[in-house]
Symmetry: C2
Subunit: 428 residues, 2 copies
């Protein structure tokens, strides 16, 4: 059994393929059949005079997504998508597909999401998810080659995190466990063992958001580096993001074409990225008439405004302490702020990274935990990291779906995860 991806090795030879019918059309004594086998798509040409009568008759009744076996000669055809064509000598129906729900017409998004298990077969969905897979491999490759040790952080956690109100919880043999929103605190513990570490996995937010940038279950990569300060943290981020974009451009050219992505915007993504302090950002936004006040976190609309004329990703750093999480390190140059950054990307995609240098002073960290009204007992182990050889360190979290939405130019991040989980969607 041959595969479509390897047709170039079989030019002139007769191969047998198995796959699903994407569509058919006929012109009198010649018919065309578009076949997908999961490794590619190829057009098969059936000439009435060259096949058995029942095979010719069969062609007319093939419906979308039925499974067929096709034998025929591999021919080079520059006009064909993929560059090859099959001159069919035998054709057999292996499995029917009657009234396939997804038709070549406009469907509502709820209908498509209800049929996500079939919608995955569509060309744009395939393209988006293949870019996702490439981005994920690029994440692992970049970090592995950079000497990072992968540390899988737990999903089931006893400690109450920063957003207690937006946690999913479950009974854990009589205790309450929460589904983790981040692995950061855990992997900080592995820095004294491995210096450079990261976690990569699903994270959870029980938020009633219905925006195009929110999922209740999404994937995040979180690198953490001992002895790195906030500046080094941003340099790592720009190298990381640039590498990921480069890999997608290199290995997903065809997919980005299917998605009609303007890749010239992505080709410009090279380090260094411009940087702007939060205070400068607020001044710029106020100068443009935005109703933003110093002290509050920037909202999605502020981010869009800030990125309106920008071609490149932008670091916004050193946010006000009260707008950010308790574990971020106080900025010695301006103690109203913390040593942190967001990374905003252009074209309306907003924040894809949040990062910071971590508070490594035991007393200051305890004070922040108290200020936020968090239970110190739940963080006892985390405070231990400041008791026994505390060390400067920094890290960040990059959201996979947001990053892939930006790279692919898709509007809604729900298309860039195989089975999206939204406030009103747990099926399929």
């Amino acid at each position: 059994m041959a595969e479509i991806r390897e047709l170039s090795e079989h030019v002139g030879a007769t191969v047998t393929l198995r796959g699903w019918v994407e569509g058919t059309r006929g012109h009198g004594k010649v018919a065309f059949l578009v076949l997908r086998d999961g490794t590619g798509v190829v057009q098969c040409v059936v000439v009435k005079s060259q096949v058995q009568e029942d095979e010719w008759a069969l062609h007319g009744v093939l419906t979308p997504e039925c499974l067929v076996r096709v034998s025929g000669e591999v021919k080079v055809d520059a006009r064909a998508p993929g560059g090859f064509e099959i001159g069919v000598s035998a054709l057999a129906l292996l499995a029917p597909s009657e009234e396939y729900p997804i038709q070549p017409k406009e469907h509502g998004v709820d209908f498509l999401l209800d049929h996500r298990h079939l919608w995955l077969r569509s060309s744009q969905q395939r393209a988006g998810l293949r870019v996702r897979a490439e981005v994920e491999q690029a994440v692992h490759d970049f970090l592995y080659r950079g000497g990072f040790v992968r540390i899988d952080s737990p999903i089931l956690t006893g400690a109450v995190g920063e957003h207690a109100g937006s946690l999913f919880e479950t009974d854990y043999f009589g205790e309450t466990a929460y589904l983790a929103q981040t692995g950061q605190l855990y992997i900080e513990a592995a820095c004294p063992a491995f210096r450079r570490v990261y976690c990569f996995g699903p994270t959870f937010r029980a938020e009633k958001s219905k925006t195009r940038r929110h999922l209740t279950e999404f994937w995040m990569v979180e690198p953490e580096v001992a002895f790195a300060d906030s500046d080094e943290n941003m340099r790592l981020q720009e190298d990381f993001v640039s590498y990921i974009v480069e890999r997608a451009l290199e290995n997903c050219a065809e997919e980005l074409k299917v998605l009609e992505r303007d890749t010239s915007r992505l080709e410009a993504v090279k380090p260094p990225f411009p940087r702007m302090s939060y205070t400068e950002a607020v001044a710029e936004l106020q100068g443009r008439g935005a109703a933003v006040e110093w002290g509050k976190d920037l909202g999605a609309s502020d981010e869009t405004e800030l990125m309106a004329d920008r071609e490149l990703p932008l670091f916004v750093h050193d946010y006000p302490k009260q707008a950010k999480a308790f574990y971020m390190k106080e900025n010695p140059a301006d103690p109203r702020t913390v040593l942190c950054n967001d990374l905003l990307v252009p074209e309306g995609y907003g924040e894809i990274i949040g990062g910071s240098q971590r508070e490594d002073d035991l007393g200051r960290l305890q004070a922040r935990i108290a200020e936020e009204g968090l239970p110190e007992k739940a963080y006892a182990w985390y405070l231990d990291l400041r008791r026994y050889g505390t060390f400067p360190h920094s890290g960040f979290g990059l959201g996979i779906e947001r990053t892939v939405a930006w790279i692919t130019g898709r509007h809604h991040i729900r298309e860039l995860i195989p089975f999206p989980r939204l406030m009103n969607r747990l099926y399929p």
Copy 2:
């Protein structure tokens, strides 16, 4: 700031290192300090006459896990672990570590698990987790290079799986969601899109097991291949496992030495692996006097007995239908059995893989769902895959912690995951 991993590039030069003190010992006018910086461990030699008085005094009060800065000349020393030594010219204490809980003595396992956030720094734990990280990268590399597309399956699921009694559940905006025990059913849906797919992530079992081979949260990789039959599935498994073992041997020689692993056992792991049908296995076990009956799944003690004299992993295939999951394909040659396999490994580690060809006949699958008393509605989308171009396919799940326990030769799988979740353990 230099790093221990790159000392070979600095022989004869003076470098400055930062890291944690693993231990000290003194002999009159010479003292030794073992330094770990996360990239390696190196011995630093302090000679009283060559440092300042306060630096010499400092050496005597350095406690385990305090953070220090050391400057000195890099010297080749074949006797030293790692092959280098630092001739100290300057020494400074950066952060104290008073009464570090983990001492160089025997601690009970509960004490160590309570201090898992610090225990990670110990040499055997570092070694085990580094092998884990290498195995995980090997998983991704093997599958990526083989043309597999990664498909992240959801953790939050509405469908009730095969072991409804052992699922964690959570309130999902008024509905009940379950934490997934497998991604298999979901990634089957992606086969018509990509032919070869896999998922890799955490999975959950709310089981009250306290064995050395169980965790409530563990990681699993699950490849799935369209058009593969059970035989091809086993061939993929033996290639995959052999590659993973080879990568660990190649890139973790030092870690396996720290763990005192007999690597000759691993070097023999090459395809093909021997195969034995379940029926043959039962006969062999009965021949040895075991109280095993045809029709029941093999238990851990059966597996141990079966592997007692074996050097290589062993496939046991074609188990009785009633002992296995509803989605496994009926064996045409013996309909009492299904086309499935477990992969057992030697040295008492038992099953690391379960795999099968999937039932691709709609009617038979519906009958099995009814027989098991499962709600057909929850599987409506899964049945659709048999309605629209159903196709033969096979796949398997490999447990990461069990595989790493076998490769590293550790007794209990809880040491091979950074923060183990056990029936009575949700902290740290």
